[in-house]
């Protein structure tokens, strides 16, 4: 394995063929979501990253100030932060979220209590609790493939080199060069939120990327103290948040996240 493996996403080379999105699902045995129509903007489908969609090509159409139509293709996926909010806030004992010696952030399904804390604190809205498996799930950077010397599935399948894999320092150098070709170009993930293993070339700057300028993890209040798994078997005096969530069902996490995004505040701060 590489010392500090990283992935560089360069939308200036992306044609949105979405082979990465399909390859990710194939390799990780993720199921197809039922979509009646384009759930996101433009051709984006499904609408967001979820327990069954770990990599999403987000397609947006922007008419730029100078009148030109630009079709923006941005990869939504776990950033594998150097200082991950999900990891810091994981309440499970022992902790279910780990960052290994190479910087890869993974959720251990055997330890995850499906509390949804990581869902709430991730600045990129990535981890999602799976209704089916009762654990939070997200991109593993194909650590299983990497450990055998293979490329991550998305990188392997990309026909144009829009997703590249290598040592972080090396990719930062390449990414800065690519971003530098654009007036407002920026390489995201070098410093944001303490940096991440996934780097994004943003040709039009952070403004059009949908990423937060300063992705600090949100402070999470009311951390549950018990596993939701055990609480499902019999509610036994867990905190009020936990009871509420258990009663509402796991899909509530997603709804809540949406409300957080829309209102800018956490409506359920108890």
């Amino acid at each position: 394995m590489l010392r500090r493996p990283a992935i560089l996403c360069d939308p200036t080379l992306c044609t949105a063929c979405r082979a990465c999105q399909v390859a990710c699902k194939q390799w990780n045995n993720l199921s197809a979501e039922e979509t009646e129509w384009f759930q996101g903007e433009s051709y984006t489908n499904p609408a967001r990253v979820s327990a069954e969609t770990w990599l999403l090509v987000d397609m947006r159409e922007e008419i730029m100030a100078w009148g030109e139509l630009v079709w923006m293709f941005t990869q939504r996926r776990c950033h594998h932060c150097i200082d991950p909010a999900c990891l810091k806030n994981c309440p499970a004992e022992p902790r279910a979220i780990n960052r290994d010696a190479h910087g890869i952030v993974t959720i251990d399904p055997g330890l995850c209590i499906a509390c949804g804390t990581c869902v709430d604190v991730c600045p990129f809205e990535v981890p999602t609790v799976s209704e089916r498996y009762q654990v939070a799930r997200k991109c593993t950077m194909c650590v299983d493939r990497q450990s055998k010397g293979d490329l991550p599935a998305c990188v392997k399948t990309c026909p144009t080199g829009a997703i590249s894999f290598g040592e972080r320092e090396h990719l930062i150098e390449i990414g800065r060069g690519r971003a530098g070709e654009f007036e407002k170009g920026h390489l995201y993930g070098v410093t944001e939120g303490g940096g991440s293993a996934i780097l994004h070339v943003l040709p039009y700057g952070v403004e059009f990327s949908g990423f937060p300028e300063k992705p600090g993890g949100r402070v999470h209040r009311g951390v549950p103290t018990r596993s939701r798994k055990s609480s499902m078997a019999g509610i036994d005096g867990a905190g009020p948040l936990l009871i509420g969530l258990a009663a509402a069902g796991l899909t509530r996490f997603a709804e809540r996240k949406r409300r957080v995004r829309e209102s800018g505040t956490d409506p359920d701060p108890k």
Binding site: A16, Q26, S31, E33, T35, N45, E61, W71
Partner: protein, 798 residues
Amino acid sequence: MTNHWNDIANADVIMICGANPASNHPVSFKHILEARRRGARVITVDPRFTRTANRSDLYCKLRPGSDVAFVGGLILYVIQRETYNKDYVRRATNAPFLICPDYGFNEGIFSGYDPGTRSYDTASWSYQLDETGIPRQDPTLEDPNCVFQILKRHFARYTPEVVSNVVGCDEEDFLAVAEAFAESGKPGKAGTILYAMGLTQHTLGTQNIRGWAILQLLLGNVGVAGGGVNALRGESNVQGSTDFALLFHILPGYLQSPMTADQTLTDYLQRCTPRSSDPASANWWSHTPAYIVSLLRAFWGPAATGENDYGFNWLPKRTANYSHIAIFEAMSRGRVKGAFFMGQNPAVGGPDSDRETGALGGLDWMVCADLWQTETANFWRNPDVKKPGDIRTEVFLLPAAASFEKEGSITNSGRWAQWRTKAVEPPGMARSDLWFMDRLARELKRLYTKKGGAFPEPIVNLSWDYGGGEDGIDVHRVAREINGYEVDTARLVSGFTALEDDGTTACGNWLYSGSYTEAGNQMARRDPTDAPNKIGLYPGWSWCWPANRRILYNRASVDRQGRPSDEEHWVIRWDSKAREGRGAWIGDVPDGGWPPGEKRPFIMRPEGVACLFASCGLADGPLPEHYEPVESPVRNRICGVQNNPVAMLWQEPEQEEENLQGFCRQYPIIATTFRLSEHWQAGQMTRNIGLLNELMPAMFVMISPGLAGRLGVKNGERVVVSTPRGELEAFAHVTARIQPYRLKNRWVEVVALPWHFGFIGKSTGEPANRLTAHVGDANTGIPEYKTFQCNVRKGGQG
């Protein structure tokens, strides 16, 4: 493709017109972006702002069906500004050739037109010949009858202003494209044209390609690295199936199919073998006798003898056009009794698909071979069929193996025949197409031998011996017969120069001669070493027709001393010191081994040069002319003739001003069809895959924000699209990626529909081809899928 996929990376300018490789040939974009990384400019000209346009340096919109106007404007631009390659034009094209003084072009009609038969007598388009039979030339290009002057006069009308009014683009956008592409005419620069069905599926389809070919010849872009006229074929092996005569007018290797007038082999050869009196012309098709006799010998083995014209009269002879629409028209009149559809699904993919689906009901029997149930195999279950019980057609569905479940070759767009091994066993009873064909042929032979019947000889005498292998059929035996062999010794020939016209050799396809020799299966080679010129030829990787030549017409890339005009990306070069001073070519396999200067570069033409002016061979004119699509919202602004006067029609178009206006009031919106990355052709292979349906779950129609506003339709609402053929319901995809065209002083809207959907499979939708019409290109009969008139209204059931 004259060139090949890897070669795109050598281009300095890439013109993508009528193709959307980012969506439909995603892997090709690796080479396009590599060229861009090396500094190439990428231009997209398309009715829609596509995924390809999004990755291009320049985008110019173009109204569907106005391609000749656009390319005509580019031709005028490079002639007027003299950015064409003067040396190349004199040396490698028929620009200096003199045309018969009777040739003329008046008000949109070329000389020789007969309105009664809607056809041309092409005699007046021919060359002036000298006393030895060689075309006369004026090397100064000033004679008013020379091709160059005729070309100049013809395209003088295609000014930027006229182009922008016809095409519906901004004049500045057109000029920006013209300036960028004209750069490729400079010495050492190369420009490539990448096209697909966006150019071909028109009543002017052939002339659209001709237009781009003329431009490429003027700029000296044919035969060079990073140049060429490159068709991005729509399926992985459609190049192979064309090479093997899937079309009605040819035999394998592009030999012409016999007509009723060819009563003997001599008649056929008289008609089909081109002649040239010019010693500098290689006139390669003069070898036609060797190729056809070797083919007949492969078909009928020892039964093909000199006495019986090698079985020539066992070949079916055609009397008419048997292209797709013609077959379905004949079927709807009850003239076709049975049909095979192998990997084809006309109930979704055919034009006017309801009419074609209806025609299937006239068959006594139908055989479909496919991976899944198709709309064609289930046409009697179509929701529109009121009484399925009345349909008497007997339907058989053969379970076909997928490409990874069988061994054989696939020929890509770049003419590379790549051998594939079987990766997995086919499921259940599925078998390869070859297995089905083998069983069918053997059973037919057995029955005709036993029972006789009408004209049994072609089947009874068929040489059919491909047995062996685990499932009884050996694909290697087929490949060896295709390569060709000496009849007496069964020794495989090394290439088509070894083929004879006396029955001593047999060869299933002369173009593939050399693909499977005594040295082994050349198509299975996987040597990743590049040739010395380092332009991505990889001569030891797979095998390429003809003769492993990777760039066609490469003799045009060198001067009379064999020196390449582009030193950086040279294709071939004459090394005079090689072979003890006798000299040899290095680099790619040249178009014939003659020393430089001995033969003209375009060896497949009897003239020996490329044709800016097509003195014969085309039905609708020696030069492209803009005619409106059969269904168009406007009058032709370039000439007085509205539609291609020899387009293949099965109904007269509305020519009367009043009717035309009425039609356009009823159907005011232009419609075009397209493909997506996420689905494949008529959809059986992708609409049954959940992960692809997740991305593209339903039929939709792209609508501009302006049109959506006027219709009161929001993104994701339902709309109904109608044409005289029928109507369909779909989601409205409201997007700025599609915009109306300004045609002089009015704006015309356009909508675009993917044509992948049908009523069978895990995702279903109404087929776009319900809306398209039975009108075809004058030369090929390809349907005009890419432009027709429609109306759109809000509504539908949801």
